[in-house]
Symmetry: C2
Subunit: 341 residues, 2 copies
């Protein structure tokens, strides 16, 4: 089954050229006559020679590799983002070395160190473990997505605008009180915009509201327990009022909807629900859930396009240093389904 | 920002050794005295020299790259399988070049051709587009997961045993009639075992049953429509009987449960439901769904362990040709939740 490896010596023997001529064919073909180029090209086909791209990379430094560091693939958001980044292969031709971090900072640093040793041309980082100042110190073209980005280029959802859209819909649905349920979020990450957008929109419309920040855990059991407690709280504290619930993601929204639906056998008129992400769980819920849809395909494409620009600059004989960081925002899209009017 | 590249000449100048000595340090360190090795090692630190792994790969052919070809990342099953394969980095040290096929056969072939040119050491294939005979012709260590595997090594779930477990539970729940809903599946792919296991178990227990094979589409709308029609069919054809529904995956099971739950405001006693996969949609459903859980972590690990064995053999000076293909099965685990007794 093993295929015999074809060497330059084999090609030289087959064509009666010297090994130096064969080497020149690969590294500087125009130094040979067209006729001789064709003779060697035919020999490669006859001998079933397999191109060794690594040899080329070794010669010119262009590996066509991009590293992707992603926190997990459990959340649909990350799986779909990875999917969309990988899909750019047809457009840009870059191959992707993918690493899942799982919040292990040291393993992540070790992996990045390896990537750099393999002469990757650029990196896309979605994990939050390594501060952007450290990422910038790697001196490799780099774009982060939806995370702290003080010292690096980034593409993010316009979380603030998404929260404004979601909150405004609940206000138009004539809710008497609005509640935003979220985890505690640091102010320097883009997702904080969901909290700020909610608060600003409520203040602007002078509507009664409450921000509920709590750790909801990761397992379905933990999420169910947390959402059950929030539901009981809203029942006790806002009886007789129409409650608009804005959940920070669709998994929470689905869990909340299930709890209310099991209580009433339907979604009663005094509860309206909206999620965030447009993940499959929203559309597949007992009632398809209204949500703020992130344009993941667009975010992935913008990140890769920006990275390609940076990588191309780096390949020039005299690359211009980047004088100003680029931070792009992609506007989300409100998707109205059956949990709002 | 650009870091100056350190060359062998720089290291030679710094240490007062010749360039040949520096080169020997990298390619055959034991030819130098321990003392000289230490002097050069210290110089590398002083000069902040970055190892060029590609140079090493070029020298010894061990790229430490493994290619993964996956059909999509939309289905949780594939996202989680990829997650578990990538997680083996800590154990085995291999880096993964990941490609998502999306059923584009030619792009997939082109990508694999590129991978081979980059001297990947092995490949894990989950997509179904390329027949195993063609995969075998690439002459690279290769393991496929859960697909047609006539000419290649493979790891799959024991689908037959999973179907036996699920069907047996519905029989123990005293169902009067059992229905298995699936897409049309070719007999040479492992998933066909779900159909065969269902039919054999029903025949063995001499229980009334029906196999419903139909294309259910991919979007939630299409799936909802298909499941609604199946639900109406069971109502009309088996009135007054306790119906045990065995769905071929959890997305179908969730959609079916939602339709029945919306009709009755609960899951009535004359319907029992079981899915397949143990994806998050099963645990996050309006009633947590009983399911046949695939041990994705174990499948991923077994596949990678087998591939590492094959790759190590290939690195020997005289690799032994593989005389017999290996096909491993991993037994699934029945998970009882609230849609069965």
């Amino acid at each position: 089954m093993e295929k015999k490896k074809i060497t330059f010596a084999d090609i030289a023997a087959y064509t009666n050229f010297s090994k130096t001529t064969i080497s020149r064919y690969f590294n500087n073909p125009d130094s040979l006559t067209l006729e001789n180029q064709e003779i060697i090209a035919q020999a490669l086909i006859d001998l079933d020679y397999q191109e060794n791209k690594l040899a080329k990379v070794f010669a010119n430094g262009k590996s066509e590799f991009v590293g992707i560091i992603i926190p997990n693939l459990y959340l649909h958001y990350y799986a779909e983002m990875l999917n969309q980044i990988l899909n750019t292969y047809e457009k840009f031709g870059y191959k992707f070395l993918v690493f899942v971090g799982n919040h292990k900072k040291e393993t992540e640093q070790q992996y990045i160190h390896e990537l750099l040793a393999y002469k990757i041309e650029g990196m896309i980082v979605l994990s939050h473990t390594i501060p952007s100042e450290e990422l910038a110190s790697y001196h490799v073209p780099l774009v982060v997505i939806e995370r702290e980005d003080k010292y690096v280029n980034s593409v993010s959802t316009d979380n603030y605008m998404g929260a404004v859209q979601g909150t405004s819909l609940l206000i138009k649905n004539n809710c008497d009180v609005l509640l935003h349920v979220n985890s505690p979020v640091a102010e320097n990450v883009p997702a904080f915009g969901r909290i700020q957008g909610f608060l600003d929109t409520c203040a602007e419309h002078n509507i009664r509201h409450e921000l509920i920040l709590r750790d909801v855990g990761h397992s379905h059991q933990e999420i169910r327990k947390a959402m059950y407690e929030v539901y009981q709280y809203t029942k006790q504290n806002y009886p007789g009022l129409k409650k608009g619930l804005f959940l920070s993601n669709d998994t929470l929204a689905n869990s909340m909807l299930n709890i209310i639906f099991r209580d009433f056998g339907t979604l009663p008129d005094d509860y309206r629900i909206i999620g965030f992400d447009d993940s499959p769980v929203a559309d597949g819920a007992i009632l398809p859930i209204s949500t703020v849809g992130q344009q993941i395909d667009k975010i992935a494409y913008e990140a890769m396009e920006l990275l390609v620009t940076l990588m191309n600059e780096r390949k020039k004989r005299r690359p211009a240093p980047q004088t100003k960081l680029i931070h792009k925002n992609v506007t989300p899209v409100l998707i109205r389904r059956e949990t709002t009017d």
